[in-house]
Symmetry: C2
């Protein structure tokens, strides 16, 4: 790995990346600091030097995975002309296992682990709230863009974003656990139908094709 020659920032990110992978694979309860150290190719001592506890490591690993999600989102959304197309892409990026180019998404497993810890840890509860607000705001931004250009009718963008974001959360839990009735494709269809009805736009057959650009 040539870890000794890497700048500090890279090793920090490598540890977070390894933590996200190991926690997703095994679950936080069955993850030891030494497992993450092995995956990252660093010593357990270095991990404890950067992060005080497994909880802190989990919290930062989710932030890190989340940053990657928003990087992908903004890179993709920039290329899409319509707010409807942007919203469809946001939904596609958030459905677990839908887009083969992104493989299995780590974020959902990390979110669920963070929810569990946040029930008993005030600092994690506040971190979760901040990340959830960022999630709602990114949905609201797209809705507001569509409302400003007249593509969508007017409406309370924050309330619409709360509904769409919470529906995505609730369905993603079922999809990520391989529910036999709630598949990736059903989740996509359900979220898009509900978003179209709530925001007030038409969904055509072309919109429902995966990878369609608005």
């Amino acid at each position: 790995m040539g870890a000794q020659r890497q700048p500090k920032q890279d090793r920090h990110q490598e540890i977070l990346d390894a933590a996200a992978q190991v926690i997703t694979d095994r679950g936080l309860a069955d993850t030891r600091i030494s497992d993450i150290a092995e995956r990252a190719g660093v010593s357990p001592g270095l991990i404890l030097y950067y992060f005080e506890s497994k909880d802190l490591l989990l919290s930062e690993a989710l932030s890190f995975a989340n940053d990657q999600f928003y990087l992908r989102l903004s890179r993709e959304v920039r290329r899409i002309r319509t707010a409807k197309g942007q919203l469809i892409r946001l939904v596609d990026l958030s459905v677990p296992g839908l887009l083969p180019e992104y493989g299995r998404l780590d974020e959902w497993a990390l979110w669920i682990e963070v929810w569990t810890r946040a029930l008993h840890n005030e600092k994690m509860a506040r971190d979760r709230e901040m990340l959830d607000k960022r999630w709602r705001d990114s949905i609201a931004d797209i809705i507001q863009t569509g409302q400003k250009t007249g593509e969508f009718p007017s409406g309370d963008a924050d309330e619409l974003a709360l509904r769409i974001g919470a529906l995505i959360d609730g369905l993603a839990v079922q999809v990520v656990m391989n529910d036999s009735e709630v598949t990736s494709l059903r989740m996509r269809q359900t979220v898009l139908d509900m978003a179209a009805k709530e925001i007030g736009f038409e969904l055509g057959p072309a919109d429902l094709e995966l990878g369609a650009k608005g």
Copy 2:
């Protein structure tokens, strides 16, 4: 506690009740079998005699808390004449912390713990799927009742139940973690608005009063 004189069934339920309380208070990761034994007033050996592992105990504790939820639901819904009133009561019973007569509901904390374990445990994933299906079916039953009597327009009751159930799940996670923007009352309003729009019924001011009977 006089545990020795109690019939077996009672002790089994007392253990599950104690497990639900301790896991809700401390989280599964920080719960020891001995904590549950102490709360239930039995020996740790007896708990391990009934339940093989902490995971199995969690799974059965959620089933137990869930059974209590459905008992409450059917007892209350039986007294309500309209499907709309029944649906409103179902929503009220599922919003964390809304109804003071039920105190803090244990189910949501247990659900989140089960989600975390189900990511890495096939048996728990199947248990979760079964419980989630029961949840959707109980929503669909009320919708179908309303559709049969003509109170609601026709529609795909299973799909509507999926949307309403998942929205409740996604919002409950935020409420149970004391999100400053997503309160119990906001969750109630959001779910009822969305359900009215999706199912196709009118929500009057009287419907929005807490404890209104349809």
